[in-house]
Amino acid sequence: MIEAKNLTKRFGNQLVFQDVNFKINQGDFLSLIGPNGSGKTTLVKILMGLEPKTSGELKLDHKQTIGYVPQFRNIDNDYPLSMEAFIRLNLKFTLSPTKRRANDQLIQEILKKTGLTALKDRPLGLASGGEKQKAYLAQALLNDPKILILDESTASLDVEVKMQLMDLVAELNKKYQLTVIFITHDYELTKKYTTKALFFQNKTLKEVPISHISEKMFEMEG
């Protein structure tokens, strides 16, 4: 469903990556790893159409239905919206009563899927780190994406909460054949959950089977 051939990206004279080749199939659960500044986020932005590629080929179906869970969100303690109101932000505007009912139902389903039903009226600003990440995930799932990109979504969480969140993602991956791209610096999670890794190194990307990944690949600095 995604195929890149000799994909290259430069910012002005600065090369980010060159001749990147990879293929992602539906239902893949893969991790995108490599040191900080190696091009992980840039690649994701290109996939989402937020950043143009410099050269090469990129084949991509369902361009509109990528769900993205960013690492940082500006949600402080005073943030007023409830979990449900926050998730609803991603709904399309409609005046039709039928569609509104369908939307309401969709929201309830997503809340259930992500285990947030009991917390839906709580202000997001007062939620824990794990609950916040679940709300971000729920919001991204709203448009029924075929591809879900998690941008270091687990970075700031406790081990137990991390696992909970990843279990949830893994379940969605299995049940709905949701393709997951997990940008991470976490060796344990990569090994436990993902089926292959795309590893950025020396301005290019190589595909690594999970049995071959090593902790050294997860060093933050290149």
Partner: protein
């Protein structure tokens, strides 16, 4: 008091202004732009005195200045930290300019007082008409952009990830903010217009947790504020602005107290 023509006009004008300010305020607060709205009102002061100097209406001068500068601020830089510093520099310049324009024009100083502190009870039928039209324009823009603007204002990063044209939205918002400052200044004056544009929205944030409810509470608080202000001003002959700002500040602290009380229970 409704037997007086000027009080009827004042009530009509301030009702529309309060609705506009209440709506805009929710977004001003969620976009962290309270500071900018304060600066825009100072720029509005310069615009109004410029209007007097060159012989156009103060309202037209205000709209001109605030719209041009809000677009300039919006395209200056998106980094909020840099924005704050450049904003305070710009605002001092404009207060200076406002004073200069006023002293160059031959109008009496009571005109300056009107611009700075508001002059709702002196408003003419024609001016009321202008205000109502402008208010309706602002409200219409908000209805049209309601969904994307909510997403961008309450979750900027998520909105960008979902592919919304956030830059365009930001400019559209700043222009409507400029218009709201200009019309709001007609009743509370340019010195205190940000009271109506920020406090009801900020208070609502402590009380309710969905966007429609935030809008309702914010509009409600600003309506009660201006109505009560006009009534008390009529009865006591004290300035309207004093009552409006006192009410909104009081409501704000009640909201804050309520939120803290709720957190501990």
């Amino acid at each position: 008091m409704f037997e007086y023509e000027f009080m009827r006009q004042a009530f009509i004008a301030s009702t529309f202004i309060a609705i506009t300010a209440g709506i805009v305020g929710v977004f001003v607060v969620s976009r962290n732009m309270s500071f900018l709205s304060h600066t825009l009102s100072e720029i509005g002061f310069a615009g109004a005195s410029f209007g007097i100097l060159v012989g156009i209406s103060p309202l037209a001068g205000m709209i001109l200045f605030t719209i041009v500068s809000s677009i300039a601020v919006g395209s200056l830089s998106s980094e909020s930290s840099r924005r704050e510093a450049s904003i305070s520099a710009i605002s001092s310049l404009f207060i200076g300019l406002g004073i200069l324009f006023l002293s160059l024009s031959s109008e009496s100083s009571s005109y300056a007082t009107n611009i700075l502190f508001g002059s709702i009870v002196g408003i003419s039928a024609k001016e009321v008409q202008q205000l109502v039209i402008l208010a309706v324009v602002v409200i219409a823009v908000f209805i049209i952009f309601y969904k994307p603007l909510s997403f961008d204002s309450f979750d900027h990063i998520g909105a960008r990830a979902a592919g919304l044209k956030t830059r365009l939205l930001s400019i559209a918002f700043l222009v409507t903010l400029a218009l709201s400052v200009s019309i709001g200044a007609q009743i509370v004056g340019s010195l205190l217009v940000f009271v109506l544009l920020t406090l009801p929205g900020a208070t609502a944030k402590y009380l309710v947790h969905t966007i429609p409810k935030l809008l309702m509470v914010s509009v409600g608080l600003s309506l009660v504020g201006v109505w009560l202000g006009l009534y008390l001003a009529f009865v006591t002959n004290w300035p309207v602005t004093f009552f409006i700002s006192s009410f909104e500040v009081l409501a704000y602290f009640c909201g804050l107290t309520y939120k803290n009380w709720k957190l501990n229970h």
